[in-house]
């Protein structure tokens, strides 16, 4: 019978075939869940943890999602995702819809299906009050302007030539840096500007630099779901439910009224293929990675030497302090150290981002290098020092000319390995706004709406840097290993 069915070219109709890709609505109905993706880091008022009950999430998008689910006859379930990774998560099938301040752009339209917009925003420039001459982005050429990585606001800023764009992951940090003087302006959606920027007394509104729309994103190959969600949203717009939600969150304004009245969407810049400009950005970011690696390693190697000498030859308090330093920096995440150094210490010492990156990584790796030197120093027999002292050398000469060169040989292969690890750890400094290789990769990926090509390019560049280092480490190990006393 199977054979007959095959020959006839008709698979048995009763046998359930794998759900066709366009049947997302059936999947939602069958599971009884509308899985919607968002990022809690976006904060109030989008979707965030209820400050009175952190187990609960609240926000105007939470209410929109719940209303949509009710219209579809299912339950809404929030799925946390990094904002920049929402589209890949949708494509992988982790979520059914994206509902999290996702701006409508031409590039995204090619990859996603959007509903009609549910919110209209103005990208707002915020500057410091002590700079009254700044009235728009054009006044900030040659200066640093912060924004969210991968956002439409980012595109608005990047479209103005000569501005140094600084991408952030969160909504608080750019305004903090603006106050500290590490930025000269911040462009973000008006919702964010009002809640995070303009509440700070030293900052003021310098006007809108562009407009955009939030809409719900879905997979292009799920037309049934698109239709159903679009209709549900349409109903909410007609019967005033959406307006009620927005008013509850103090988000209703003339722009929303115009949107409800059916005003057209403003055009947004779109993405293009990987170009010479992108390649150039990648190479520049590689340069930043190399520079940070070299400088922080230099700091780590000298700092580690000081620490290990303090631990071995220092007096009681010095020795204890060096020991505590090593345990503190080895025992806490380098990411945390970078945050504390850059944001936490900002009121005391306002490091620039690059300096903070070098200092942060250098201080962290110094702890590891200190341990390598310690092992090296312990490997040098006491007889070496005695022989040097017996020849009339001073203690410093015995250390510098006899003991340290031998300790260094023991430590060197480990140091070379740490340098490779450090090279990769530089990717962490993107959290304090340094655009290095990995950050550039995510920026390009969001811009191109593709992670594969930038990802591979990024990996190739890291390998090109680390592989020669690994070879060098091996050679050093071979050359320096045989020295039995």
């Amino acid at each position: 019978m199977v054979l007959v069915a095959l020959l006839a070219g008709h698979p048995g109709a009763e046998e359930a075939p794998p759900a066709p890709a366009g049947d997302g609505l059936a999947r939602v109905r069958a599971s009884g869940l509308l899985r919607w993706g968002g990022d809690l880091q976006g904060g109030e008022p989008y979707v965030f943890q209820d400050p009175h009950d952190p187990a609960r999430i609240v926000g105007f998008e939470v209410e929109i999602a719940e209303a949509l689910a009710r219209h579809l006859g299912v339950q809404a379930r929030f799925v946390q995702n990094d904002w920049q990774l929402l589209i890949p998560a949708l494509e992988r099938g982790d979520i059914d819809i994206i509902l999290n301040g996702l701006e409508v752009t031409e590039a995204r339209r090619r990859r996603l299906a959007f509903t009609q917009p549910y919110f209209a925003f103005a990208a707002t420039l915020v500057v410091r009050r002590d700079e009254p001459a700044v009235h728009g982005l054009a006044d900030l050429r040659g200066r640093r302007v912060g924004t969210l990585g991968g956002s439409l606001s980012h595109d608005f800023v990047a479209a103005v030539p000569g501005i140094d764009v600084v991408p952030y992951e969160g909504t608080q940090e750019p305004y903090l840096d603006l106050e500290e003087g590490r930025l000269d302006g911040v462009v973000l959606d008006d919702i964010i500007a009002e809640r995070y920027g303009l509440v700070r007394p030293g900052l003021r509104d310098a006007g809108a630099v562009g407009e955009g729309l939030y809409a719900i994103g879905m997979r292009r190959d799920e037309p049934a779901l698109q239709r159903a969600v679009g209709e549900a949203l349409g109903t909410m717009q007609r019967d005033g439910e959406l307006r009620a939600i927005l008013e509850r969150w103090r988000l209703w304004n003339d722009r929303q009224a115009a949107l409800a009245a059916g005003a057209g969407a403003p055009a947004a810049p779109g993405g293009v293929g990987i170009t010479a400009v992108q390649l150039d950005l990648f190479l520049r970011a590689t340069g930043v990675t190399v520079l940070i690696s070299l400088l922080s390693m230099a700091l780590a190697v000298t700092g580690g030497l000081g620490l290990s000498l303090a631990r071995r030859y220092g007096g009681g308090p010095l020795r204890a302090a060096a020991g505590m330093y090593v345990e503190l920096f080895r025992g806490t995440p380098v990411l945390l150290q970078l945050y504390v150094l850059y944001y936490g210490l900002a009121p005391l010492v306002a490091f620039g981002a690059f300096t903070a990156a070098v200092v942060g990584l250098g201080l962290n790796y110094a702890a590891y290098e200190a341990e390598l030197y310690r092992a090296g120093l312990e490997a040098v027999p006491l007889g070496q020092t005695e022989a040097a002292l017996a020849l009339g050398m001073s203690r410093a000469q015995a250390l510098g000319r006899i003991v340290l060169p031998q300790a260094f040989r023991v430590a060197l292969p480990g140091i070379a390995n740490d340098f490779i690890a450090l090279l990769k750890d530089t990717s962490l400094v993107s959290v304090i706004t340094v655009v290095e290789l990995t950050k550039q990769m995510t920026i390009t990926a969001v811009y191109l709406q593709s992670w594969l090509v930038p990802g591979l390019l990024c990996a190739a560049l890291y390998l090109a840097l680390s592989y020669p280092l690994a070879r060098l480490a091996r050679r050093l190990e071979r050359r320096l290993a045989p020295a039995p006393a």
Binding site: A387, L389, A390, S394
Partner: protein
Amino acid sequence: MTDVVLRARGLHTRRGEVEILRGVDLDVGRGEVLAVVGPSGSGKTTLLRAFNYLTPFDAGEVEVAGCRLRPGMCERADAADLRAVRLRVGMVFQSFHLFPHLTAIDNVAEAPRRVLGLSRAQAHDLAATLLRRVGLEDRAAALPHALSGGQQQRVAIARALAMKPVALLLDEPTSALDPRMTGEILAVVRALAETGQTMVVVTHEIAFARQVAGRVAVLVEGCIVEEGAVHEVLDHPRHGETRAFLAREERA
């Protein structure tokens, strides 16, 4: 003995509860080769290392060519006094302690350059001369691990001589070597003795002591029990402890 180069008076050393040296008096005259023999654990090495204070002593006094060492000196606080003494005595260690990262010639040239302030060329000339004297001029560029034990010990002797020490201390110079290499060291030490180099050799090899030393001191349990010309002490021991020690060594 008109010109005393090394002098120890009432030397006491303890390590924890154990007394290592129990009142040692010793004089070494200029140009003299003194062998210190005795069973292992008798304090020979401790006595030798008191002369350059690598092992501190707890009571007594040491005088090295006019420089004085006192009990309780500190490497840090008394660095200048200690260096003055160490510049006058050379030390050859049982297990050589050559600097493994330096070639044979650099092992010898390092201290003259850094401590005496010789130029690189001067230090190298001096080192080459000394390596020739110990028969290793063709191994000058070798790293220590490429040398045999006997060769390493000869480099160590050259290294100590490079500082032109008033006295040379040799701590069991042959005990880390197999017997056929002992001959190399013996020849070098005898040649040195002929030039009038003052030396103190700690050894438990009676044959070695007999061949290099003019005078011998027998150390037993931290005390010098007998002291005198080599043939007198070794051939006609007066003291019971010496006889017991010599009998044990000859059986071995």
